[in-house]
């Protein structure tokens, strides 16, 4: 890459970095941009500009997660993850207690649209597994409650819940192998579910991490 091209790219990146800074921090964007003018080495300037883009996105994400709409969206996502954890225990409970109307209703929300496809899996599911899912769901709700109260350490119960969820996923694999029935046949959907939960946890950690330096 030629020096002129490096400098041009650095300038473009800096403009982008200044653009993405939240409105209340626009002067910081300008400060980073003006600093580029005094860096004579083009390679260093490009490196500086890359860093400033990261700083811009860091500040943008922080501002988003401190806003009411960012927090509301994250709260909805965590609530949905908790509801998802309660889904399988509720379906198993409905089936075992012979609440077939409820089982049918819930079954329409599974792959194949019929709970009866999952009967062998539900029969083979050990009793502790639904308890594990409920515990994971409750931990997500605790994390949500702590986030809404702006309490420190909201991410800890969330990641504990996530760990339980992963144990559950491992246990389900063996149940599926024993019965030959795959609950969610599409691997992309399965992977997306785990990725979404992990992303929610990281956003929660980011939103609730300590931002105060001094004791107050």
């Amino acid at each position: 890459m030629t020096e002129a091209l490096r400098r041009r790219l650095a300038k473009k990146l800096m403009r982008h970095a200044a653009c993405i800074m939240p409105a209340r921090e626009k002067n910081w964007g300008e400060a980073m941009q003006n600093e580029l003018q005094v860096i004579e080495d083009d390679q260093v300037a490009l490196h500086w500009a890359f860093g400033c883009v990261i700083a811009g996105y860091t500040e943008r994400l922080s501002a988003l997660l401190q806003s009411w709409y960012g927090r509301s969206a994250l709260a909805c996502l965590i609530a949905l993850l908790a509801v998802r954890e309660f889904f399988a225990p509720l379906l198993i409970f409905a089936y075992r207690m012979q609440y077939l109307g409820l089982a049918h209703f819930l079954g329409l929300r599974t792959a194949g649209d019929d709970y009866r496809r999952l009967i062998p899996v539900m029969d083979a599911t050990p009793a502790w597994l639904p308890v594990l899912w409920v515990a994971a769901g409750l931990l997500y709700l605790v994390a949500l409650w702590r986030m809404l109260r702006r309490a420190d350490g909201s991410a800890a119960p969330f990641f504990l819940g996530f760990a339980l969820e992963l144990v559950g996923i491992g246990a389900v694999q063996s149940v599926q192998a024993a019965t030959g029935i795959i609950i969610t046949p599409n691997p992309i959907v399965r992977a997306a579910g785990v990725a979404l939960t992990l992303a929610a946890g990281l956003l929660l950690w980011w939103a609730t991490r300590k931002r105060t330096f001094a004791a107050n």
């Binding site: 002067n27 300008e30 003006n34 860091t58 300590k210 004791a215």
Partner: protein, 102 residues
């Protein structure tokens, strides 16, 4: 109950550099060179410190003509006290670790 202060090595490095010459105004690029922090780490830290009243920031005309004004930074009196407290804590911790090893 008061919040526990953050002890990140990046914050400590930045505060240590600012503490070396507390009355001098410093530019972002100079701070980057002295601390060894990347701009992507340095600026969010400067923003946080400034938001919490620990850092003064203002615009200064550039030394060379034709160049845009630059942002300069130095610790506020509160920031200075905090930086000294952090430095003392860090040195105590280091001393305790060295003592434990000896």
């Amino acid at each position: 109950m008061g919040r526990r202060p953050i002890f990140s090595s990046q914050t400590d490095r930045l505060l240590a550099v600012l503490l070396k010459s507390p009355q001098a105004w410093q530019h972002g690029y100079a701070l980057m060179k002295q601390t060894g922090l990347q701009s992507g780490t340095l600026y969010p830290l400067l923003v946080r410190l400034s938001d919490q009243g620990l850092l003064d920031a203002e615009w200064r005309e550039a030394d060379k003509p034709g160049k845009p004004p630059r942002h300069v930074y130095r610790l506020t009196p509160g920031g200075l006290a905090f930086a000294r407290e952090q430095a003392a804590t860090a040195s105590k911790t280091t001393g305790a670790l060295l003592g434990a090893k000896a």
